[in-house]
């Protein structure tokens, strides 16, 4: 639309220009600048959201992988404890009560920690039966460090995934403000041509045929293979 206006005023007669007093290179430059600012902000916001989604997805995948490992550790610890003391009280009751089947991060972490606590108690237990059975396994303090560290990591990731909302680079409403500015200037431009047309019919009206086509500036073509970034319903020239 700025192109239509500039194209017309570039070839307009002195009489026509006199009836378009607010349509100058300065005002058209501001209008185009406002349109480009709105378009850039929209593109930046869209890119920001794309990156945020990708980051969230990556975090989730990493957290899921760690949780899968911890679920495996939970069952290994449970099996080891049962192997050593599954029929010896009070261990047997603790081992059963300290096992949750649920596979959410909090439940798995709680189970792993409960089973680690039992295993550490078994390591300290000097009763002959426990010592004999313990020696048939690889249970050791250092062996327990790995699932303990993994439980800490899973808990931290779960907490991070629940609370992490990266601060947007563009404040909320910024895109709307810039869109509003562009629309104000476009409205003034259309109104100026309308007034001119009323006074002299050889001055055309500017007829937007859709805001998405009015406000979307034509940019240089992106290299082949680059996905076009053309979000729907975007103010764009």
């Amino acid at each position: 639309m700025v192109g239509d206006a500039l194209s017309f005023v570039s070839n307009a007669t002195a009489e026509q220009l006199a009836l378009l007093p607010t349509v100058t290179d300065v005002s058209l430059r501001l209008t185009l600048g406002a349109i480009l600012a709105a378009s850039d902000a929209y593109d930046a916001k869209a890119e920001e959201q794309t990156h945020a989604r990708a980051a969230r997805s990556e975090r989730r995948a990493t957290a899921d992988s760690a949780l899968d490992s911890l679920v495996a550790w939970r069952d290994v610890l449970f099996g080891t404890n049962r192997n050593i003391a599954g029929f010896v009280e009070p261990y047997a009751t603790r081992i059963r009560q300290g096992y949750e089947k649920a596979e959410d991060a909090a439940s798995v972490c709680a189970t792993v920690r409960a089973q680690i606590a039992i295993a550490r108690d078994l390591l300290k237990d000097k009763s002959p039966g426990i010592v004999t059975r313990r020696k048939t396994t690889r249970l050791s303090s250092s062996w327990l460090d790995a699932p303990a560290a993994l439980a800490d990591r899973v808990e931290k990731q779960a907490s991070s995934a629940a609370t992490m909302h990266p601060a947007p680079h563009l404040p909320e409403g910024k895109v709307d403000v810039l869109d509003g500015r562009a629309l104000v200037l476009l409205d003034e431009l259309i109104a100026a041509f309308d007034r001119g047309h009323e006074a002299m019919p050889t001055i055309p009206r500017l007829s937007p045929y859709g805001l998405s086509t009015v406000l979307r500036p034509r940019r240089a073509k992106k290299p082949a293979g680059t996905a076009p970034n053309v979000p729907p319903n975007t103010p764009t020239a």
Partner: protein, 36 residues
């Protein structure tokens, strides 16, 4: 002349004809003047 051949439809050409892109500061000043 089709739209694709019309230089007035090319943003880069428009910017060149208009003396470059208006800065954020220029736009801010313009709208502050309106709001004042």
């Amino acid at each position: 002349m089709s739209e694709s051949e019309d230089p007035f439809f090319d943003t880069d050409v428009l910017l060149e004809k208009l003396g470059g892109r208006a800065s954020d500061a220029e736009l801010d000043a313009y709208f502050e003047a309106i709001d004042a």
